[in-house]
Symmetry: C2
DNA sequence: GTAATGTTTTACCAATCGGTCAAATTATCG
DNA sequence: CGATAATTTGACCGATTGGTAAAACATTAC
């Protein structure tokens, strides 16, 4: 008598690990390109090179695949923000945060789109993660930035909106890639747009946040 | 013998105008919240308060609804960029462009999400609009910005990435609204976040783009 | 080897999808 | 009014959806 679902077994077999890996990889492709509702189990199964019932042997529902994928990707995704260091030089920290986020937009666009799709459609599956871990992390880093403002190391500004603007500008190059390509046209076809973007954004934020007379006075 | 489709009649009746209006309004609700593939005709029909066959009497396919909606919204959506004036004062023009875009994110979030969904998923229905009218408009305005840079009125920077960064930062407040709310939490619950964002972004871009010694020299 | 367990496939299901059809109903016009 | 055209409805269709059942097949442990 066989126990029907892989989840029931405590010890995971080699095959289980391999197949789950393949499924999550395929699911990232599909979910990031079409969102949760727009994706089908069949698409994921085909991308993973297995039959639908076979896939459902490893993940019982579409939601289970999605949840496993989110859980797996979220931690890595927040890595750059976590690396934001209170002790470091403000200018260098912000600059390297921008660079890291931009590198992630370039190297992991599917992950970016996965979250973008999810949030855009009201975050029905990750509301808790946003209000919990994410908020706490941002609150913590906002406090760091606020301290920098207090000590006059950067211009007076709202730390939350500073973080939002870095998220928005960097992730834009992953999430809205087709638009960026369409507007830039053939002449900027290569990956050069990421270097141009890095140059622009670093300049914008560095000059934009440099402390000015009025700040230290107040 | 009645001609089966509303589209066949040359003269549009009062009822046609009213119903098409209601359908497009409902479609904006549904498409902006779930994307094209994630939306169903039934959802739109229910939101419009009519039966599915009745809706299909006015628009023959789901794509036709979507197309009509895009056509209708796109022009208005580009209005702020079109208003960008070469003759005006650079600082004032950029500042008011940011303000206008932010107002649109606040007042027309559904329109913003409609396009965001579309572009995120590869822009399958608006590729032509991106590569055509949008690109041309951006090219034109980029030239204006480039002229400002040449005459030393603003800092040396890539005009395309400047435009992208304004799009990204302002639309962020519409497209990623749930995340912004989740992170800001209850204490910033009201609409105050838009004013805070406006203050932050104006400061960022004004200071970030102010011409510096090195620019005028080069 | 063989028995137990783990994996895959085939066939299937009910619900939902986009869309059609013809008949019934309502508005418009002379 | 009556006739004609415009609108609405309910019943329906084939395809696709998420998911299941059970048997066939493969692997592992002893």
């Amino acid at each position: 008598m066989t126990i029907p679902r892989a989840a029931k077994t405590l010890r995971r077999t080699r095959i289980q690990e391999e197949k789950e890996e393949r499924i999550l990889e395929a699911a990232l492709d599909v979910f990031s390109a079409a969102g949760f509702r727009g994706s089908t189990i069949d698409q994921i199964a085909e991308a993973a090179g297995m039959s639908k019932p076979n896939l459902l042997y490893y993940f019982r529902t579409k939601e289970a695949i999605h949840r496993a994928l989110i859980d797996r990707v979220l931690f890595t995704w927040l890595e750059p923000l976590r690396a934001f260091d209170a002790e470091g030089n403000p200018e260098a920290e912000i600059r390297s945060y921008i660079r890291r986020k931009l590198e992630m937009a370039r190297d992991f666009p599917r992950e970016s789109r996965l979250f973008a799709n999810e949030i855009l459609q009201g975050a029905p599956h990750i509301e808790d993660e946003l209000k919990g871990p994410l908020k706490e992390l941002v609150d913590e880093k906002a406090e760091v930035i606020r301290a920098w403002v207090r000590t006059g190391k950067i211009a007076k500004c709202d730390p939350y909106h500073l973080i939002f603007s870095i998220w928005a500008t960097t992730q834009h190059y992953a999430d809205f890639d087709v638009q960026v390509r369409a507007v830039l046209g053939q002449n900027h076809a290569g990956e050069g747009r990421f270097e141009d973007a890095a140059r622009f954004l670093e300049q914008l934020f560095m000059n934009g946040l440099r402390p000015r007379q009025a700040d230290t006075a107040a």
